[in-house]
Amino acid sequence: MPQLFKRRANAIANATIMGGGLIFLGACGVVFALGRSDYWTRKEEAPAQPVPFSHEHHVAGLGIDCRYCHTSVEKSSFAGMPPTETCMTCHSQVWKGAPVLQPVRDSLQYGRPLRWTRVYDLPDYVYFDHSIHVDKGIGCASCHGRVDQMPMTWETQPLYMRWCLDCHRQPEMHLRPLDEVFNLAYASPQNQFLVGRTLEEQNHVHHEGLTDCYTCHR
């Protein structure tokens, strides 16, 4: 009776046993990595918008303050999106006939709201409040990045819960003086830790309860 297996069968056997394990681990690794990839979180992905609005131009170029358009950022959980009127306050004079602004003009004319695509989209079970963060000295840039350098707006953070917790666990590392909140160019000092401690006092930041589930989830 001829040999059932060639000599190299052993090698193959070992290879498959080892390989099987490796492939499994590899698969796990891929899933693990994918879940953390920018593709997944849409980080640094600038979605198409009805109007190619450029923060770079309006903020850096024209020096318009964040609050001019995002009016309720200090009052409400929702920072507020500018109603068409706000756009038209200027654009009824400048770029009057510009074809790119046609949707805006239509919106006002026919009372049809503009439908922007969300860039920062938190799950519905997360109750984020802009006003309190602004009030306690968290800068816009901390989450939204250098918006003044974005021709089209993209997400600069993965928005993982872990990322939120990093800050909620030690806010002192991210606080800034209240008058710097809307300064997108603000750079935290070398001794941020010490500065942060004093800012905590000044801005009345209370540590306890910052990591309670109910702070963000209800």
Binding site: R42, G80, T117, D121, Y125, I132, H206, E208
Partner: protein, 936 residues
């Protein structure tokens, strides 16, 4: 206090019936098999669900849109709620409300503290109106016969008709409405009647069979005897009465100035549950008692000391009698009470229903306009309203629903909901409120004012102009604008209140002669006279004492049940004066012997997809000569059975002292004794672990059982605030109701005449929460302020926490409840509270102490850099409670109201012996019995 309690009636005898009730299963998920759609789409959905199961974690979040305003309203800050003052009517009488509105969506109703009939509290009907507003079953289009029509076509018709009326002075024109207190509407009707002198206006209100009772100052009453009068139960003045009554039952603050309440009634009521002495008597016996009091005839043994008690306090005592008692008694009571009378609700004007029907029979009527109401369903059966209505050539109906009455009319006009219209209304004491719309009519409805404007030849005028014109005419002083704005803002029109006590005009009579079994009609505690039948929140609200949902029953006493060999869920024929209704039996401890109580409002056929064919129609037995019942009832067993869905199967305390009750004298002798019944809780130091210190706030709640009247409003207010789904009868019967706060109901003492107790049970937010340590994923954990947090988005649904919760206050979303037939209508998305997550299937949920409100207040305080004030945070249940029985606050602050409550010697923790250290505690209930009566 004797605690000889028995297991629930059937268990007492442990009948085989009860056994097979236990064994019985609802045909498991019969629905899936009968329901075509779900069987057909089985594979489809199955595939989808596998995708959901497998891939839900493996798909990128879809891109969402964000849609700003074109023109943003001035006062509106996106993400922040606005509140508007307006009012809702119950049988014509206004109760003032504040409505919470998110970006133009009304989402929640609260009481208006400025309003005398609300005082900041609310009742179940007020809370549920917000659901009624969005009800997808509301009538949506003008229809003429079978065709869809338009308002313009209707107006054209009115113009033609008016020509006719002009010629004959409106002969043959009739108006039929419910009770109306709206000054504007009344003036419009007057205008119509002035223009057409031969026209007539008729009024029909099923529950108001007599001139409304005057309103009395319960707070000033030392002794009260209520004979078949449920003044603490639902009604236009319930909230004021509850507040006043509770104010005389406070043992935790200041001097003990308890009042004393005697109740004699045929069937347990909220008032009866609060009685110090309660007597279950049939209607005949009650009438005799009343007469004995009026004529000074001899009373039962307990009667004399009671009468003495009343007389001793004459001028400070009340004798409240129900509509079912005879005029002599009512007149006697009225005179007795006059010193404490504070208001006389305006009696309704207009002629009565019988007169209308007489004219119909005589063929005098060509046009009948029916504003609201639903006479075809709730008119006395002997009127044969439906038949007679058919004789009227032109029938016009303005109604919220395509209901029984609409079905009989050619012209059916969709009515706008009170929250969609400009109008006005008066409270029981005459206080007027101008009601403003919260939202454009969702289904293109019009208000009664707008219809009246059309009838009076003013075409289609907007409700705003009509109401404003009226008040402009009323306003004498200068600067009307200011006056108008203030009235709107406050929700009350200054100087309209304090209605003068007017003379009492008796009419109608009560039927209490005869013999044999007696029948008693009562409005349903949850759907009233049937007008709320299509309101799923109210249908699923467990009725007091029976805890039945989605049903009404023929309620009889244990003794009567034994005599007639009836048991729960037996279906019987009720034969009454040649009429017959088929009804299931419920054995109700505390019910008077030989009398059967049935709730009105059920068995609707045109209510909508929620209210149709729920329960049986008791109106089919209700005749005009005996609106509240009478003798000559016969019960015939059919051998059929009808399963009830009750939320509490077991109503004895098993000697576990959940509700702790004492008497005032006991309390005065040993203040601590009452609350310390039952095992003591272990001390704080009796633990292996270092106790957690709560440095900042420590939220806690106290519930005063001495004040609670068991009105259920906490349950439904919570449901409205927290997006709690309705699950339907089958699911309730499986033990899956979702209410976050339930009102437990215990009987204590002899089955014939037990003591009745209520106990609201929300999450206890235990400091040693048993639920927390068994959750494998930490989805329920403790907050730094002592809240027992439940994180829906982390929950995997092992349900271990619920098993380990000794209070069983956790609720589980067993099936996709927010997609069931009650919740799936897209329009209901507008109703959801945006500050509370809508829970998905397979997730545990429970009372959060309304953490969204805590957070809102905290953020405001933080931003203004000030401490949170006591009483600034009010959970939905506490805000709604008319008796101020629920108090919430910071127990670290000794000055807070809740700390004061908890400092009371009556304070005790539920099952505290388990060392759960509940943050929610109770104040024991004190009774104030009359020693002489107890001797007798």
């Amino acid at each position: 206090m004797n605690m000889n309690t028995w297991r629930s009636m059937d268990e007492l005898e442990d009948k085989p019936a009860y056994r097979d009730w236990l064994q019985r299963e609802f045909p498991p998920l019969a629905s899936e098999w009968t329901n075509e759609a779900s069987r057909r789409s089985f594979l489809k959905i199955m595939g989808a669900s596998f995708a959901l199961a497998g891939l839900s974690a493996c798909t990128r979040q879809p891109l969402e849109k964000i849609v700003p305003y074109v023109r943003q309203p001035e006062e509106l800050v996106p993400g922040q709620a606005l509140y508007f003052a307006t009012a809702l009517n119950l049988e014509g009488y206004a109760r003032g409300i504040l409505v919470e509105s998110h970006e133009g969506r009304p989402t929640k109703i609260e009481g208006n503290p400025e309003h005398p009939a609300s005082l900041g509290a609310s009742d179940v009907f007020m809370q549920a109106e917000i659901l009624a507003l969005y009800d997808p079953d509301r009538s949506k289009s003008v229809t003429n016969g079978l065709e869809i029509s338009t308002w313009d076509e209707f107006l054209a018709l009115v113009v033609r008709e008016r020509e006719k009326w002009k010629s004959n002075g409106g002969a043959g024109l009739r108006l039929l409405t419910g009770y109306i207190t709206s000054p504007t509407l009344l003036s419009q009707i007057e205008a119509l009647l002035k223009e057409f002198p031969n026209a007539k206006w008729h009024v029909h209100e099923p529950l108001a069979t007599k001139t409304p009772q005057p309103i009395f100052d319960v707070a000033k009453a030392e002794v009260i005897l209520a004979v078949e009068n449920d003044f603490l139960g639902p009604g236009p003045a319930q909230l004021k009465y509850a507040r006043d009554f509770a104010s005389r039952r406070r043992a935790n603050s200041g001097a003990l100035s308890f009042n004393r309440l005697y109740v004699a009634e045929s069937t347990p009521s909220m008032t009866g549950a609060r009685a110090d002495h309660r007597y279950a008597l049939g209607p005949r016996a009650l009438q005799e008692l009343g007469m004995a009091l009026a004529t000074g005839a001899s009373l039962p043994s307990w009667g004399d000391p009671m009468l003495a008690d009343l007389t001793r306090n004459k001028g400070r005592s009340l004798l409240l009698v129900g509509d079912s008692l005879s005029e002599e008694v009512r007149q006697f009571a009225l005179n007795w009470n006059r010193p404490l009378q504070i208001a006389q609700p305006l009696p309704s004007r207009g002629d009565s229903l019988p007169e209308l029907l007489r004219d119909v029979a005589a063929g005098k009527i060509e046009t009948l306009v029916i504003l609201g109401g639903n006479p075809a369903y709730d008119a006395p059966v002997d009127f044969k309203f439906a038949e007679k209505l058919a004789l009227v050539p032109l029938r016009i109906r303005l109604g919220l629903y395509e209901d029984e009455t609409s079905a009989l009319c050619q012209w059916r006009l969709p009515e706008a909901h009170s929250l969609e219209t400009w109008s006005d209304a008066r409270a029981f004491d005459g206080t007027a409120t101008i009601t403003q719309p919260l939202i454009e009519p969702l289904y293109g409805g019009k208000s009664a004012h707008e219809l009246m404007a059309a009838l009076t030849g003013n075409g289609m005028v907007g409700g705003y102009d009509i109401v404003r014109q009226y008040w402009h005419a009323q306003h004498t002083g200068d600067d009307f604008e200011k006056y108008w704005r203030k009235s709107l803002h406050d929700g009350v029109v200054e100087g309209t209140g304090g209605g003068k006590p007017s003379e009492f005009a008796p009419h109608g009579r009560a039927e209490t002669s005869g013999s044999g079994l007696e029948l008693v009609f009562r409005p349903s505690p949850s759907i009233r006279d049937g007008r709320f039948a299509n309101n799923a929140w109210l249908q699923e609200l467990p009725q007091p004492f029976t805890k039945i949902t989605w049903d009404n029953a023929a309620m009889i006493s244990p003794a009567t049940a034994k005599r007639l060999e009836l048991s729960n869920e037996d279906v019987v024929d009720l034969k009454y004066r040649g009429r017959l209704v088929r009804a299931p039996i419920w054995i109700l401890p505390g019910q008077a012997d030989d009398c059967v109580t049935v709730h009105l409002g059920y068995g609707r056929t045109h209510a909508g997809h929620v209210g149709n064919d729920v329960g049986f129609d008791a109106y089919a037995l209700r005749t005009s000569d005996a609106p509240w019942g009478g003798s000559g009832l016969a019960i015939v067993k059919t051998g059929l059975r009808h399963p009830f869905a009750t939320t509490q199967h077991h109503q004895s305390m098993e000697g576990r002292q959940q509700v702790r009750v004492g008497t005032l004298s006991e309390f005065q002798q040993h203040p601590a004794a009452v609350a310390q019944a039952g095992e003591p809780a272990p001390g704080r130091d009796e633990t292996l672990y270092t106790p957690v210190a709560y440095k900042g706030h420590a939220w806690g709640m106290a519930i005063d059982l001495g004040a609670c009247i068991g009105c259920n409003v906490c349950t439904i207010a919570c449901q409205a605030e927290n997006n709690i789904p309705v699950v339907g009868k089958e699911e309730v019967a499986r033990g899956r109701e979702m209410h976050w706060i339930r009102v437990d109901n215990y009987f204590e003492g002899a089955p014939e005449n037990p003591r009745l107790h209520f106990q609201p049970v929300p999450c206890m937010h235990c400091e040693n929460a048993p639920c927390e340590l068994v959750c494998p994923v930490g989805a329920t954990a403790h907050s730094s302020e002592g809240l027992n947090q439940m994180v829906y988005n982390r929950c995997v649904g092992t349900r271990y926490c619920s098993n380990n919760c000794p209070y069983k206050v956790r609720r589980f979303n067993f099936l996709e409840y927010d997609r069931n037939r009650f919740e799936s209508a897209p329009v209901l998305k507008l109703l959801r509270n945006p500050d509370v997550t809508v829970r998905t299937r397979g997730v545990m949920e429970k009372c959060t102490y309304c953490v969204q409100r805590i957070n809102r207040v905290r953020l405001d305080a933080e931003k203004q850099n000030r401490p949170i004030r006591d009483g600034e945070i009010i959970p939905a249940c506490a805000q709604a409670c008319p008796a101020v029985a629920i108090v919430f606050g910071d127990i670290n602050d000794p000055q807070s109201n809740v700390s004061k409550f908890k400092a009371s010697p009556l304070n005790y923790g539920l099952l505290a012996e388990l060392n759960t250290r509940p943050r929610t505690t109770y104040l024991a209930k004190l009774l104030n019995p009359n020693p002489e009566v107890e001797k007798a």
